[in-house]
Amino acid sequence: MTRIPLRPLARILNARASGENPDLIERENIARRHEAMRDKQRHQAEGRLVVMAVVFTVAFSVVGMQNFKLAATEPTEPRAAVSTSPIAAQRADITDRNGRVLATNLLTYSLYAQPHLMTDKERSASELAAIFPDLKEEDLLRRFNSSIKFMWIKKKLSPEQKQAVHDIGDPGLLFGPREMRLYPNGRLAAHVLGGTSFGREGVHSAEVIGTAGIERAFDERLRDPARPDPLKLSIDLTVQSAVRQVLYGGMKIMNAKGATAVLMDVRTGEVISLTSLPDFDPNDRPQPALQGDPSDSPLFNRAVQGVYELGSTFKVFAAAQALDLGLANPDTLYATKGPLTWGRYRIRDFHDYGPELSVTDIIVKSSNIGTARIAMQITGARQKPFLASLGLLEATPIELSEAPSGRPLTPERWSEISTMTISYGHGISTSPVHLAAAYASILNGGTRVKPTLLRRDAPQKGDRVVSQKTSAAMGGILRQVVSRGTASQGDVEGYAVGGKTGTADKPKPRGGYYKDRVIATFASAFPSHDPKYVLIVTLDEPTETSGTKPRRTAGWTAVPVAAEIIRRAAPLLGLRPEIEPDKAFEVTRVSSN
């Protein structure tokens, strides 16, 4: 134990001397030290208690202020934290080349039910079934009575339907805003636009995703919130409307089961109009057919997906290449005495055209034998790269999600007989858009164009395919096909239409060809001395029955339809008819008696 020093030593010594007890003094001293220590502690504690009091005051003030801050802010709607990326609404519009709307968005409402909030399930089910004939009362009631807490009833409501459901007055029937895609022109350009459907769906919004056509090909661009500007297509709505109307009528008159027309600007490669019949309403896109031939479905885009043997229209390529290679000029004569026998194959003409024909006449009269002889002179080794340079051997780059499926069918081995049949359009299958791009490339002065559906303002500067001279010569030959050849019904006064017909027997699914089913095509360009537009019209299984026996050749079917299209569309495209100086002013005299 530590000894406590006896500090007031003098007093203790005195006390000892006087015989008093010094312990008393020691205790008194301890007591005084104790007092002093306590005083010191008390003063320290006083200070620290003040600190604590201040700390508590500050703490409670902070609580009060925080409460004030919260009370002064508006409550936000409690929302579930969104774990995935928010659904971006507002898909960009699609317009035609002049800014007219082809596809836009419309705010509508979806209908969903929360059965546990419903007050009268029986009545609601029966009234819903009355509003929506496609819903069954028993089904609804069964789902209402199951244990689910949420169910969709309708994805899109019309305002009338919404009001009617609202009038049921059941608190368990709820509406969520929905932005739906609207195609105000209905069936017009249906195959170009394609269609959309709902992707991820929430109560407050739903994602609209493209399922076909432009909508699918440009899905990311259209959904990009950073690019709200409309997507401008090369389509001209007015021309598209005229083309579709005429083509539809032509398809009916010619008893065809399908038809397609592609109108292309030869310099820019822009597709001004693209129609495939039968078509559909993209606002109510039909379900893909699960059975039968998919090419019979209205969803099938004949212009892009349909690859056909396009027949004699291909003769133009053989002639153009022969002229371009310097193997011939338009007047060079080729033997056309038939039949042409090559191994076990025999090539025949539709009629006997005599012993020999010039290159021009081979095209004008459409001689298979003459074309095959030209092809033999060209040889397959040169023919294949030439067709490839026109884009005929690969799928078109046109901006539709279906385009890659329109891959041309070509022979596995490019034999000599293949070279000959391909020269007149058999043994190779391409789509009408392929043909349009190839004709445009040859006739625009000889540079390659690729088909596009986006508006362009400048000509495409593609690789040279044929010389300018060949291009001009081909324009002249095509003009003669119309003025004195197989396409004589295709003449449209003032527009100098040139073109080439093609009638190909349809192949049977199991090999061989049908005798009475053809694909009739007219590939035309106008005006032929300075071609601006190429129009391809293809009819599927047409039969012209005005004569004594049914006629199926393109000259009787596709050509008149194309002529009518040009008659309607050319003025809309801003082309002035070139009125030839009239011979003499004739007065028709009417008999007076």
Partner: protein
């Protein structure tokens, strides 16, 4: 002779008990406490009917119980506040021993009511949470130890009190009840601070607490979830905090009106931990500020009154009890406005809960007993001119 033996004037030390109590008690604090109890009943009327309807009881079942326990708590306050400091010390230490024994036996006889922590004894008609009674007992015991340590030739009281604190805290942390554990640790820290701790030592202790907190965060998923929820900037609206925040915002300055609130239907703890959200929604900011003000008055008045106190035990015990009371209120209020991470802590006298009310009554009664005005020997100071 007989006159001298039997006829003398009866000698009484001072005045009668009740008048002296009334004269010396901190009447402002007492009033505040009674007003708080009234507020608790008022808010109970708003917050507990949803719970009663969920449990299939009479709508005002919990209010009736709360009123009954408030009566008991008032008796506890009166009795405890009449005790002299020595009696407070005696009762407190015995109470601590009893409560600690009860706490230690919890794992064997306790129940967790399906909440994941064994904290209660179920007595059939009511449940008792020993830690509620342990807190005031602990404060009294440690105050006694620290005060004794300040005597010349006294025991090493500070070390003992630290050991007791560590033992109690670890028992509470094992339950787990980190809220009560941190409350006890904080109360001990404040007592130690007021009892003359060196600043260096206190900083070291603060570091230790931070370390323990980190350990708890890594070791206990229960604890980590709450901290994570606090640290994330967004309020998940489906949590209690989310509902509470929304309720305070809905209430605005004057509230949506009595009985018009909706948060009580969605908050499972509307009658206990988040009763302030109910108050904010139905009565607005005014009511919240009033309640906060009451707690502030009680805590700060007690601390200020203790500044005059010369007896170290009285001063320390009073400080500890005031800290317990104020800190518990602060934590509860702070959680609701997201100053503090979510922690299950009742609002003293306002939240529903029988044992919490009675234990709180005892604690506050003892606090009032310790803050009573007493002769402090100032006259002796003056006479001896000793006032240093």
């Amino acid at each position: 002779m007989t006159e001298m033996a039997f006829g003398t004037v009866p000698v009484q030390s001072g005045e009668p008990v009740i008048p002296r109590w009334w004269r010396t008690i901190d009447r402002w604090s007492l009033t505040c406490i009674l007003v708080l109890m009234g507020a608790g009943l008022l808010l109970g009327l708003a917050s507990s009917p949803p719970l009663a309807s969920r449990n299939g009881l009479d709508p005002f079942h919990y209010v009736t119980r709360q009123a009954f326990f408030s009566g008991l708590a008032m008796v506890a306050i009166l009795l405890a506040s009449m005790m002299p400091p020595a009696m407070v010390r005696r009762v407190g230490v015995i109470g601590f021993l009893a409560a600690f024994a009860a706490l230690a036996l919890l794992p064997f006889f306790g129940t967790d009511f399906g909440k994941g922590a064994t904290r209660w004894y179920s007595l059939g008609f009511a449940s008792v949470q020993p830690s509620e009674f342990l807190k005031p007992g602990f404060v009294i015991l440690t105050a006694w130890l620290i005060a004794a340590g300040q005597e010349i030739n006294g025991p090493p009281g500070r070390t003992f009190s630290f050991a007791v604190a560590i033992i109690v805290v670890s028992f509470l942390a094992l339950q787990p009840d980190f809220g009560q554990a941190s409350l006890i640790l904080a109360a001990w820290g404040v007592m130690y601070f007021v009892g003359g701790a060196s600043i260096v030592l206190l900083s070291g202790l603060a570091g230790l607490v931070a370390l323990a907190g980190t350990f708890a965060y890594n070791g206990s998923e229960h604890f980590a979830r709450r901290i994570d929820g606090f640290l994330s900037p967004d309020v998940d609206p489906r949590t209690q905090i989310g509902y509470a925040t929304n309720a305070i915002q809905e209430g605005g300055f004057f509230g949506v009106g009595v009985g018009e609130g909706s948060v009580k239907w969605s908050l499972p703890d509307a009658h206990t931990d988040f009763i302030i959200a109910v108050a904010a929604e139905e009565y607005g900011l005014i009511m919240v500020l009033f309640i906060v003000f009451l707690y502030l008055v009680i805590t700060v008045r007690s601390l200020v009154r203790l500044m005059r106190e010369r007896d170290p035990f009285t001063r320390l015990a009073g400080t500890g009890l005031a800290t317990l009371f104020g800190l518990q209120a602060f934590i509860n209020l702070g959680v609701a406005v997201r100053i503090l991470p979510a922690k299950g802590m009742t609002l003293p006298f306002v939240s529903y809960g029988g044992s919490s009310l009675i234990a709180g009554g005892l604690a506050v009664g003892m606090l009032l007993a310790l803050t009573r005005s007493r002769p402090q020997g100032e006259l002796g100071d003056i006479l001896l001119t000793r006032g240093r």
